[in-house]
Symmetry: D4
Subunit: 218 residues, 8 copies
């Protein structure tokens, strides 16, 4: 298991990470971590590795794209001095191109996405013990779907940057693909983006698998 | 894995099961299963065994004791014709004796508890494929604590009835004891009863362990 | 223009028709007709054919399938004695099969859908001057999409019954297909069902086209 | 059709334009354009000319008069760099003279109205491709009504400035007059100002007629 | 002054009488009489004739027409055994004909209005010491306005019945006409029906004048 | 009648004047003047002297004492340039001495009260056409009651200053005394301070009497 | 101390007893006993005589008079089988005569008050171990005050009935008189009825003194 | 009794002191002192020693630890110039170590606790007539409980500082221990920290005992 005793694990991203977490601090009791995969990861760490005492912080903000992350990076990431950082961003960068195609200044095209994400990763990697890059996803099983194709390209960017900077890659799309073989997208998410608890569990398992979580430990 | 394709799994109990589930139906989208272990079990079944399509229903009601279950058993259990039934009841039966000791008519003493639970189990076992009995618990590591001792006695009743009626036993207290070795009760629940997400994950893992859930399946 | 002076035009259906209309009466001032295509049809009739004084009533109820309509048909349709009746139903009959596949008793399969719709049309046709059947739709341009295919089958049922009973057919899917050639589904509806104002305008124009509405009248 | 592919169309005015639009941005999904004619224009453009991808922005603010527009002109109009600008203002400039006659500093008399509007039009015309001036209106069919007479004078000012500056004129009063021949004012607006959906459709059709909108296009 | 010590004065009517009064009882402290003329009449009686101790009850209900009054007459009037009864009804009977002209079953035409009002007056007069009939009104100074003309006809019916049955007539329209000579309708009521405090004071003075109220008493 | 055409009449005071008036402006439609005597005065002026068009402004703030008035005098009185100013202050200055006797820094003893009020009157008198001083009151008929005695002393101060500075005096206590002869205090105000509508009518009549209001004018 | 181990002490009365208690049950945790003297009595019994485990129930209902008590006596008193019953009623019976003097049917005059209270006491005394009668009170130190005089008469009735039926008398007025020597009524209650925490402590101490409560016990 | 006429008694602490008090001022009517022991102390002082007129102020803030007090000490204590100061702090300083053990920067370990408390006491003692130090407590009767042990250590620090600086010590844990002999912790507080009214009465009596309060005075 890659996390060690007393380490601080910080999550940053958009509404999938946010999921109604307490603002501004994003940690503590009473649902402060939100209702999504961040809370599930924390719950599994605490219930299966209680002795490690991992401190989990959720700095996701609904609607964010990679430029929004960049604007608040110092305060919400670097100043927090996390040992581990997990980034999942890109869904809104793509989605705005498809749900409000006419409002161009809300679109983050792939060049700017890659350039900004790389800058954040390069700047942060040396200051953390480990960096986890989670790909954006789109719960659309038709690989020829326009938005799915674009999302996959952004996924490739993440994979490429992860490899290039020796980060832990969590291929969320791959995690969902397994489930989408059996279930239609609407079962996981009416809008193919904000998933049910089952969808959040897919993200949780995809991440914990990559950090060597032992499910059968206790 | 004990659950088979298309089976209906019904949960009944008190606030730990309820956890703000949709009433009256207790199933469907948009958090209808509540925010606790029932939702986590459903999420894990759907994300790891999507092809089974297990239908999960949550009939927990906050504040219930075993007598309350008995009063609504026909409508909320038998009429639902579940394949699998999971019962977790007894915490309030004990707790009222300790938080409002003077209001005797809210207490369900152990004889009546055992008698009622046994009647429900005997009546239901033949009508379901499988019956899961989850012990009540108290997140107090001091085994000499008055309420903890009483809760353990009610736990023994559950174990006894489970054994006697060939039910699947889920020893929740045992699940928590492992974590309580590392963490003080208040980390899991300020009131030692309504747990954090981590507490609900302990209940989830304890139950799935007993039904042969393969955590490393995908 | 098929509507004549002083006639009563009643709309019935699910959330696409309901759209937050006033309940129970579904008519009058202050947004009583809801925020969707029913209100747009009424607004266009009143602003372009003010002298006709068509009385528009909205009896849509969110979440309804064809069985729900059948259960309230006497009170919400026949007792209202409309001159014209417009029915748009079927989206939920299909959608439940895809968003909650495990809850079978919420699914209305095509045989029962056809049988019930036919019964309602046959029973009602003689009691109205004109009957408009609007096909269900799914804002998914990929015709091979599982749910889109099923929805198209239900659309065929509507076309068939319309033809068989000399009803006015409004092919909503066809209306949307034109727009979907230019715009991705998410631009019209995040969940591919509940559309933006633009989507409701597509439904409005599709219906008014079939009743000979003269857009250039004033 | 005067609008071309990818152009930005900005609406500014008072509560008739505002109609509960999202503030401050006034664009995007989920009713951001409000419930009135601005949303109807956008819906008709998107459903009939989807390929043009016109970006519509609503900067109306309830209660505004022409002086309020002037105070926020830079930020809410010029900085937005619209291709097309539509202005409908003047109702409150008149109305305050008639509903709170004693509070003089809320009245904008015709000289100041004309002078300010002309200044805004002259300043803006060179910076946009096209400028649409919509007359204020009063849903009172009695042309001798004091407030109707004053409103008509302000209407004349708008017509005069439109002509003088080669703007597209939308004579809203004229649009309503047609309907008022058949319907009493209270049918369109209890207060003869804030209209029903039918009233907003009159404004929509009056505007689209002037920009060459082809109603029978699809 | 026509009211005597300890008498019960009951007001019944529509929203102008109701004005947010406490339901169901319509009397007592803390604004129970509502914010309109009924409260003003009570306040003036109590502050100028405190020794009389007149008991004032408000049974107005918003949206009511004369048929609605008839339906609740026994419970809300006769069972209350008032010494004095004041009726102001008819505005909605007319208004629905002009704001929702197509919904005929909400209109109460003048024959039915006269017939019902006469029946109520004849039935009640013998059971009370005094009966006050307040004419409906429409704050539109243009006597040729369609709705104003109809309202005046209903006013004539009230005058006729008052005279015929020796009731005290309060000509509210006449009261408003004096003020409308100086002020435009919108100053008294945006919708020409629900007046400002000034409008309610006109109604109050019109009523008190008819019962011999001595304004200069203290 | 002392008020002339187009004059501005400003009221300032505590909760008896405030009475839920719109803040900050304290004028306009929709109950902006509050529910108390200020609204009644405005309603009577508009309904009986409509041609004068008196502009009424309400700058009362609940809980204020004379020091609070002093702190906002420039902005809420002098900058408003009223023709007529009515001040009613002093109830809280006394009341705090009797309901929270131990919190001395909330008490405004009579010397400081007189000194501050005199300063405000002297400073303002030259800048207005007329200044109305309304005495504070206490709805306690027992003149030997401690708080009533103190309130009467503050009343004397007001009378003295009024006389000294040629202001119009409105003896509110005297107005209430007449009514208190017939009615017990609780009928007018549970707390002997915040009166019912009847109490506000006493204040209204006391003020209008002093400015020569002709109740029988129309 | 008159209360013995495990006994049930039931309080019934009006808003002074109710004080926002949980309805309908009036017992349990989380402020179920309300914020007044009933909660203080329970808190003092539990903190000073924890071993007795007295079960306290609050059946007070705001606005009640003795007739209201009579109407619910069976369900809210006799069916509860209390060992000890405390009744405090009469304030509203008097108050309505003074705050709404014209609404006679809300007044409970002294004959009916005495007759009803005696009937309840006689009927209940044999069924309880002990009966506590608390006098009504009025926080008005002027004994010649009209309402105070009436309240004192009702107090005498209570004293008389208590003596006559060997009940424990709690002279609340006497308790308050001591404090009123030092503090003006408004310090204890703006409306001289609903007291501050200090007022409720006076009631608490008056009651506990009569049952032999040992304040210095621990 | 140690408090003298007209003295100011200020309470500062965490949620046990705060208990929903009015912010920012923390004094006055209508529950401004909150619902806990501060309000009970004030109520008992006012009802038993009304002539002293002690001014009680509540500056507790929920969630505070000793560092938070230090940060606002000047404004909320020294600037208030109290005669008597009561400090109860330390519960959160300990609790965070046990409910969120991983969030170290929320823990205030004993050295820093002692050092900060001593600094505040030393700085303040000379500026007040008397200083009351109330120990933190934990409603856990098992003295070997980890959190109870830590809390007792912090209690010892308070006792030590009290003795060292001649402060009045209120041993709250000792007060609770007496009750805990008879009642299980959950009867006083589900979370063993936020007590019922009975718990607040224990704190009240413990404090008043130390200042020589004569319970039998009146």
């Amino acid at each position: 298991m890659k996390f060690e005793k007393g380490q601080k694990l910080l999550f940053i991203g958009d509404s999938i990470t946010d999921c109604d977490r307490a603002k501004p601090e994003g940690e503590g009791l009473f649902g402060a971590l939100g209702q999504g995969y961040v809370s599930y990861v924390d719950a599994l760490l605490q219930s299966v590795y209680p002795e490690l005492g991992i401190r989990v912080i959720n700095k996701g903000i609904s609607g964010n794209n990679v430029l929004n992350l960049n604007a608040r990076w110092q305060e919400d990431v670097l100043d927090q001095k996390p040992d581990w950082l997990s980034i999942m961003i890109g869904i809104n960068d793509v989605w705005r191109q498809y749900d409000t195609p006419f409002i161009k200044d809300r679109h983050v095209y792939i060049e700017e996405y890659e350039q900004t994400l790389r800058k954040l990763v390069k700047e942060t990697k040396p200051q953390v013990e480990g960096l986890i890059l989670m790909t954006p996803y789109y719960l659309e099983s038709n690989v020829n779907d326009a938005m799915r194709q674009t999302m996959d390209q952004y996924g490739e960017v993440v994979k490429h940057i992860a490899k290039e900077n020796n980060c832990i890659l969590v291929d969320t799309q791959d995690g969902f693909n397994n489930v989408l073989k059996e279930l239609y997208s609407a079962t996981l998410a009416w809008d193919r983006v904000h998933p049910t608890a089952a969808g959040h569990m897919v993200l949780t398992r995809a991440l914990l698998k990559e950090i060597g979580f032992d499910w059968n430990r206790i």
